[in-house]
Symmetry: C2
Subunit: 328 residues, 2 copies
């Protein structure tokens, strides 16, 4: 627990009332310069800081935002979290973090956050059930889905334009003359994953093509390595992976098998543009997501809905860009 020293003690020390102390620490109130100075002096001397929790009880604004995020150790998620913290911090908001190792726990974590009177919730993990969504609505706590869509809900959402981005990846493979194209998905069933799959298929369809092979890698390196085996068996000349980690796994699988050269024999495209994608050992061509823009948009959306509770939920799509390196 924190500061034993309360407003009452500061008031006594400064020879004023509790209200005067409160006003000094509440922006937008009027206090005489003399009082303010006296109060500030005593406060500083005693080391007083207002109890943010007690204040919340009355103002109904905690200035804390609940964030549910899975797999922080995924480089892109880490980046997102970092940007999110910066964007919220700038608005005077702090993050109450809960990471969901298992997506089915997301609901419970959200409910728990609600009991801490968070001003809003950002979900970048798992699925949110309609019951949890209802709880948020009931608590009139705005929710923003980040990099994920909620099944059927009135939650706002911010994400990359995954569909257009994946189409772009397909078009690039076609443009560099690839025709035997394989696809490695992440986790089918998640909106992000499905959108990328859809866009990619659409892109190939413009050339009247379909993937010669499809596999799921679960968005991580180990899974990607496994999925790569099955894909490579079809001797593709191009592969699009739903994230960079899996694309790197493909490159490593190719190297360890020997014979096939990247990009000459096989072009590889990833997604995210994590720092590791730029390593010379991989030089991965990839679809870059703008983590900073996504975080900023999520923060802005949440802020707007907090300020104006009646506001309708919105959906914001951030465009992606293709970053060409050597792998495709």
């Amino acid at each position: 627990m924190s500061s034993r020293v309360t407003a009452a003690e500061v008031a006594r020390a400064a020879g004023v009332s509790r209200s005067a102390v409160s006003r000094v620490f509440t922006p937008g109130t009027s206090v005489s310069p003399a009082t303010r100075q006296r109060v500030e002096a005593s406060a500083a001397r005693l080391g007083y800081r207002p109890n943010a929790l007690a204040r919340t009880l009355i103002t109904r604004r905690s200035r804390i935002i609940g964030v549910v995020m899975a797999a922080i150790d995924n480089p892109f998620h880490a980046q997102l979290l970092q940007c999110l913290d910066a964007a919220l911090q700038q608005r005077g908001l702090a993050i109450l973090l809960r990471s969901a190792m298992r997506p089915e726990l997301t609901d419970e974590l959200i409910l728990h956050l609600l009991s801490y009177q968070v001003d809003g919730v950002i979900v970048a993990s798992g699925l949110v059930s309609s019951s949890a969504a209802k709880a948020c609505v009931a608590a009139s706590t705005p929710v923003v889905m980040l990099d994920r869509l909620m099944r059927a809900s009135r939650a706002s959402a911010v994400g990359s334009d995954n569909r257009a981005a994946a189409r772009m990846a397909a078009e690039h493979l076609l443009a560099i003359g690839r025709r035997r194209i394989a696809f490695m998905s992440g986790t089918p069933g998640i909106s992000t994953s499905d959108d990328r799959a859809r866009g990619f298929l659409e892109g190939l369809a413009t050339a009247g093509l379909k993937p010669i092979a499809v596999a799921s890698g679960g968005y991580d390196y180990a899974g990607g390595r496994l999925a790569a085996q099955s894909l490579l068996a079809h001797a593709p000349d191009g592969i699009f992976c739903e994230n960079d980690l899996m694309a790197m796994a493909v490159i490593d699988a190719v190297r360890s098998a020997g014979g096939v050269r990247v990009p000459e024999d096989l072009a590889v495209i990833g997604f995210d543009n994590i720092p590791a994608a730029a390593l010379p050992a991989y030089a991965l061509t990839t679809v870059a997501q703008d983590a900073q823009e996504m975080a900023e948009a999520a923060a802005a959306l949440l802020e707007a809905r907090i300020a104006e509770p009646g506001r309708k939920a919105t959906r914001r799509l951030i465009p992606c860009t293709l970053v060409r390196r050597q792998s495709a």
Copy 2:
């Protein structure tokens, strides 16, 4: 803000007093099965959840832990944060996160966390001034420095045994016959960095050697790449880097220069054992820090000091292990 519905409403609906409701939701209290059931039914129907903040006001336990961490996008930090969340979550504690882009802001962030009545603080970033440390003591909020030591303070600390670990790295380089050894530090002045430097020098000294060259890489890839230039100019046959990111940069610098082979001509050792170190393209021999153990220890230490405020600050050193791959 959350649940409009209060204990009073549940009490009315269930035909009991507020206290009865409170008791049902407070572990370790006795309520008759009949009452409990009635209350739980009404609560469920109304969607009631106790207001954790109001509760904190009275119990003086928020069950939230403030975490100050820099550079979440550093893979090792991300891992640490993830493990920390798991360890705390297991104890029913949530993380109020504040990331410090600039270490000199650490103080301010800590003060801010204190106003949220956090039960404890974990600092894994920057330096903590004595004034901030005093504020924590005054608020009787225990602090654990994670992967960092506080200048002169009564804060508990958990970290790797950096000195012994670095000595081990030196001994390994010597054992594989290297004699022209260079050293790349992270950020001199930070205890972690200085401990590694000290241990490494001690290790070399056992063979009567000194580094033939020293440079600082700032713990990131770009900085490591730069520092590598100056180190490689001295034609070392072994390099120890204070983290994996910089070690990978050294390997890339060597490759781009051409001529020198790793590990035949130059052995490279890193520190952390981040996931990328295991990539076949780097196969980095490195000193592994046990993030999970560190997080667990930090959580346990904090928990103990929260339960028993009088308890003395302790220092816990987690041993590291050498992970041999191909680079050394």
